[in-house]
């Protein structure tokens, strides 16, 4: 390109020089437009105050064995279930290879007793039933999504129905025996 700039006009009527200038101008303009486009696009990303609320701490001590609680995290429900030994056994009895979205229960929990899931059906985003006593829990004793009939087991894995994936497991850490930080 540098050669073209120095090409004397007498060589080729300045056509190449003009084309270079034309492309260079367009190029600089395009870079400028892109540089301005980014702040505009990025302004629609989560703002600092939204990100500041993106992790929560939950006190687990009031939750008895066999109970579930729902907490709100990033605007979505998070299911926290303190599983019974029967439920853990049921979840681990299944061969991972038989599942729609194969994943052993061990990979889905940090402590077998505590199952923590994003309570959003992986089909089209409804909230599955099964958190409160009396709600349908589906054919596998976990959760049942009323929108299109997806059944989840006691590890939150999809077993039957249109949902393609298991219920998401959020990032979390146990701060101590009775406190977990989600997010």
């Amino acid at each position: 390109m540098a050669d073209e700039v120095q090409t004397p006009e007498s060589d080729d009527d300045g056509t190449r020089r003009r084309e270079f200038l034309y492309l260079a101008t367009l190029g600089v303009g395009a870079v400028g437009a892109a540089a301005f486009a980014w702040p505009i696009i990025d302004s629609m990303n989560p703002a600092a105050d939204v990100l500041a609320l993106s992790s929560i701490e939950v006190d687990l001590s009031p939750i008895q064995e066999g109970q579930s609680v729902t907490v709100k995290w990033r605007g979505k429900p998070v299911f926290i279930r303190r599983r019974t030994s029967d439920e853990i056994a049921a979840a681990r009895a299944v061969k991972a290879g038989d599942l729609v979205d194969p994943q052993p229960d061990e990979e889905r929990v940090q402590q077998p007793e505590w199952l923590i899931l994003v309570g959003v059906c992986t089909h089209l985003g409804c909230i599955p039933l099964g958190q409160k006593s009396g709600e349908p829990t589906g054919d596998f004793g976990g959760w049942f999504c009323p929108c299109h009939g997806s059944h989840y087991d006691t590890s939150g894995r999809i077993r039957k129905g249109p949902a393609p994936k298991n219920l998401d497991v959020p990032n979390y850490v146990f701060l101590d025996d009775s406190t977990v930080r989600i997010g």
Binding site: G29, S43, A47, A48
Partner: protein
């Protein structure tokens, strides 16, 4: 428009045969003949349209983050400044963009005044321009209310109260504008809705303004009509290039304010949340309204009443009429100016009156920024009187008395003469 352009690209050709947008673009922005002697004062129309687009883009993004409620508006603007990604940049561009828009448009107007761009056959083009200014003023005022600072609130209060000067129905109109008995949440809500609406109306009128200038063609520094293709060059690349140079320089100035003096044009009081129980000690409008504000305050008490013996018009109403009249009079300029010569280059006397008028407008702006007391009152009255005299006396009379310099026979003639 009659002849279609032939395109090589089959997709472009397919579209163009059904909807000749590419032919239109080619005719109006590629081949369009422009007077070849245009100077850099002819950049400002293009600059104004760039600012309008910038304002609409940044405004839409800000509207996504803003909350039009009296208890949340101020905080939502602070959230934009602190929490939203690049929110500070979008807001500072939008805030300073308003000032840039008025600077560019005022220069555009004074260029039109100097070179007689309002004269036949461009009267309607000019009048559309005046409509654009009125829409800009309304939009700027509405937008200034949205941050819900002290100046927002009290500016809104003062400006809406102007309408109370209308005889008989004034108070009713003000209540109607407010949607209540003071500037409050209903007012803020409707101002936000209107502030979002008006730029699109503005955009449409700018479209008409551009169509109109492409019918008559641009005026030029000599004010002499284009007579042959020798007097013109094509829009592209000559004026795309010239406009780009001006645009880059302009963006330097714009960016300098946005990044280094973002609050230069603003009032510190507007970073105090609106308080309906306390008026700031010194209320001033944004700088672009100052000349009009000075005219509003210039009309003395009972001056018109005593003079005309007409009790319906009090000082408040007279001031309001004068302020709106200062813009409305521009609509009549094409007929108030009786001179057949367009450009001030060939009007030796008008040229001086033009500079006097420009100085008068700047003086009015200064007076508008000062408290209405002492000598400022009298200077403001004199400057207001001159403002109207310029349109109502100087323009009509000068056309009869002034002997213009001999006009060149064509646009190319003075250039050829200079170089021979």
């Amino acid at each position: 428009m009659a002849t279609k352009t032939e395109f090589n690209n089959p997709v472009v050709r397919w579209v163009d045969e059904r909807l000749p947008v590419f032919t239109y673009l080619d005719h109006e922005y590629n081949q369009f003949p422009m007077p070849k002697n245009l100077n850099y004062w002819w950049n400002f129309g293009a600059l104004a349209s760039v600012v309008l687009v910038l304002m609409i883009v940044t405004g839409i993004m800000l509207a996504m983050q803003y909350t039009a409620h009296v208890s949340m508006a101020f905080e939502s603007v602070e959230r934009i400044m602190r929490d939203v990604n690049y929110g500070w940049l979008l807001r500072y561009i939008h805030m300073n963009g308003a000032s840039m828009f008025f600077i560019v448009v005022y220069i555009h107007v004074f260029r039109g005044l100097y070179f007689g761009s309002y004269k036949a056959p461009r009267e309607l083009l000019w009048m559309l321009g005046v409509v654009i200014i009125l829409l800009m003023m309304a939009t700027a005022f509405l937008g200034y209310v949205l941050p819900w600072g002290q100046m927002s609130f009290w500016g809104a209060t003062v400006i809406t109260n102007l309408f109370s000067a209308i005889p008989f129905v004034g108070d009713w109109i003000v209540t109607w504008l407010w949607g209540g008995f003071s500037v409050d949440n209903p007012t803020l809500n409707r101002f936000f809705a209107l502030h979002y609406l008006m730029p699109f109306i503005l955009f449409a009128v700018v479209g008409l303004h551009v169509v109109a200038v492409h019918i008559t063609g641009s005026n030029n520094p000599t004010g002499v009509d284009v007579q042959s293709p020798r007097d013109t060059v094509s829009f592209h690349p000559y004026f795309t290039a010239k406009d780009s140079v001006g645009l880059v320089l302009f963006l330097f100035v714009f960016a300098a304010f946005v990044f280094f003096a973002p609050n230069y044009f603003g009032e510190p009081d507007n970073y105090i949340k609106a308080n309906p129980l306390q008026t700031p000690p010194h209320i001033v409008p944004e700088w672009y309204f100052l000349p009009f504000y000075a005219i509003l305050r210039a009309v003395p008490d009972n001056f018109i009443g005593a003079w005309m013996g007409f009790t319906l018009i009090n000082a408040k109403l007279a001031g309001v009429i004068a302020m709106f009249g200062a813009t409305i009079v521009l609509f009549f300029l094409p007929w108030l100016d009786t001179s057949k010569v367009r450009s001030a280059r060939y009007r030796p006397v008008y040229k001086w009156f033009f500079w006097v008028f420009l100085a008068d407008c700047l003086l009015l702006g200064y007076i508008g920024s000062q408290p209405a007391e002492g000598a400022f009152i009298w200077i403001g009255r004199a400057a207001t009187a001159y403002y109207f005299a310029h349109f109502l006396i100087v323009f009509p009379v000068l056309g009869w008395f002034e002997t213009p310099k001999p006009l060149p026979t064509s646009i190319s003639e003075p250039v050829l003469k200079e170089n021979s």
